[in-house]
């Protein structure tokens, strides 16, 4: 029997299990090729809830609302969406909210769409400016450790963190 396996299935399963083990219940996102499988896994699991956003900044606030009542959330977005978030990162920094982000990169290794470069290249400087600690994954062997570090930074360390999935890890789209 022929079965199509999603190209991001294996690592998405690893990350989903790590997030579940950390107690993450709310997965908010703007769809992107890099987070599609992870969102599907969260949708299929009956202990986790997926929130489709209209803009990435909403997810920052959704995560803060969850924290105020003791729950854990993750916000997933493409690199372009990081540009929609900085103002809301103000309450994250000022209030010490344990934000966890997963950013799938464009405008990075192997990019062919010129529209993606400016924001892609600004992702880490912007997050750095707003106090979000970044953990970059460029090779498969960096994934699990990076996710674990980002989870611990947010939920044990109490500091906002982002897992940055580079295009050398995810693969670049051809145009």
């Amino acid at each position: 029997m022929y079965e199509t396996v999603h190209p991001h299935d294996a690592w998405s399963r690893t990350v989903f299990q790590q997030l579940k083990d950390a107690g993450v219940t709310l997965f908010s996102y703007i769809p992107d090729a890099g987070n599609a499988r992870l969102a599907e896994l969260a949708e299929e699991d009956n202990q986790t809830r997926v929130v489709l956003l209209t803009t990435e900044e909403e997810g920052i606030a959704v995560a803060a609302g969850a924290d105020l009542v003791g729950e854990k959330a993750v916000v997933m977005m493409q690199s372009s969406g990081v540009g929609n978030c900085p103002n809301f990162l103000s309450f994250v920094k000022g209030g010490g909210f344990p934000l966890l982000m997963i950013v799938s990169m464009r405008g990075d290794h192997g990019e062919q769409n010129p529209w993606q470069f400016p924001m892609g290249q600004a992702v880490e400087p912007i997050l750095d400016a707003m106090g979000v600690i970044t953990f970059r994954v460029d090779k498969a062997e960096e994934l699990e450790g990076g996710m674990s570090a980002a989870i611990n930074t947010a939920f044990k360390g109490g500091c906002a963190s982002a897992l940055i999935l580079g295009q050398s890890f995810l693969g670049a789209k051809a145009f």
Binding site: T25, L26, S28, R49, V51, L52, L53, T54, T55, E57, E58, G59, I60, A61, V62, A63, A64, G65, A66, D67, L68, V69, G70, E71, A73, N87, F88, S90, F91, G94, G95, G96, F97
Partner: protein, 193 residues
């Protein structure tokens, strides 16, 4: 054009006679001051003084994470319009325990009273309805306050109450604007209780 005769002062007190039953999230500026006066800046309320547009989404995250609690967002018209897509997100998630109250003074009271879109052609009730919020109510006179109080406690959410008020100063109330203190105050009260 609807005739607006409602004063914002005391309006929330009519709609929420028992504010302790709720967890509140507010946006910034005037509505935050009105709301803080309602609860005496209580530990069941997290008010913002920046990050315009975040209130509805923060309330959504809370409503989904505390499904047995009544969650209410209080925000102004400028705040609503800055992140109007959040109403679509709320509609799709459809949390039954979420109520949104928009205190709409038709302008930007905090920055000098500049005219806002809702004083021109924008109808927030139609937008909320169009986003897919099942229960929407508009109140623009004190005669409607009892019905508004019924609206927020009856049926299932999500609810959107468009409270159209006269321009004028918000309730005079000085609230804690330190986000770290307010976060810890809220969490301690909620998780400790």
């Amino acid at each position: 054009m609807t005739d607006i005769t409602l004063s914002r002062i005391g309006a929330l007190e009519h709609i929420f006679p028992n504010p302790d039953e709720y967890l509140f999230i507010t946006g910034l500026a005037g509505p935050a001051r009105d709301a803080a006066a309602l609860t005496n800046d209580g530990p069941n309320m997290f008010t913002m003084a920046g990050c315009m547009g975040a209130a509805v989404s923060m309330g959504l995250g809370m409503a989904l994470s505390a499904p047995t609690k009544k969650v209410c967002v209080i925000a102004g018209d400028g705040e609503m319009l800055m992140n109007i897509g959040s109403l679509a997100t709320v509609a799709s998630q459809a949390p039954e325990n979420l109520t949104i109250v928009c205190v709409d003074n038709g302008g930007h009271g905090e920055t000098g009273g500049q005219v806002g879109h809702t004083a021109l052609r924008t109808d927030l009730a139609k937008i909320a309805d169009g986003a897919g919020i099942a229960n929407v109510m508009t109140v623009s006179s004190s005669d409607g306050l009892m019905a508004a109080a019924d609206f927020v406690k009856s049926g299932v959410g999500p609810r959107f109450l468009w409270l159209r008020v006269l321009p004028g100063d918000p309730t005079s109330f000085k609230r804690n604007m330190n986000p770290m203190e307010c976060r810890m105050r809220f969490k301690t009260a909620y998780l400790g209780g």
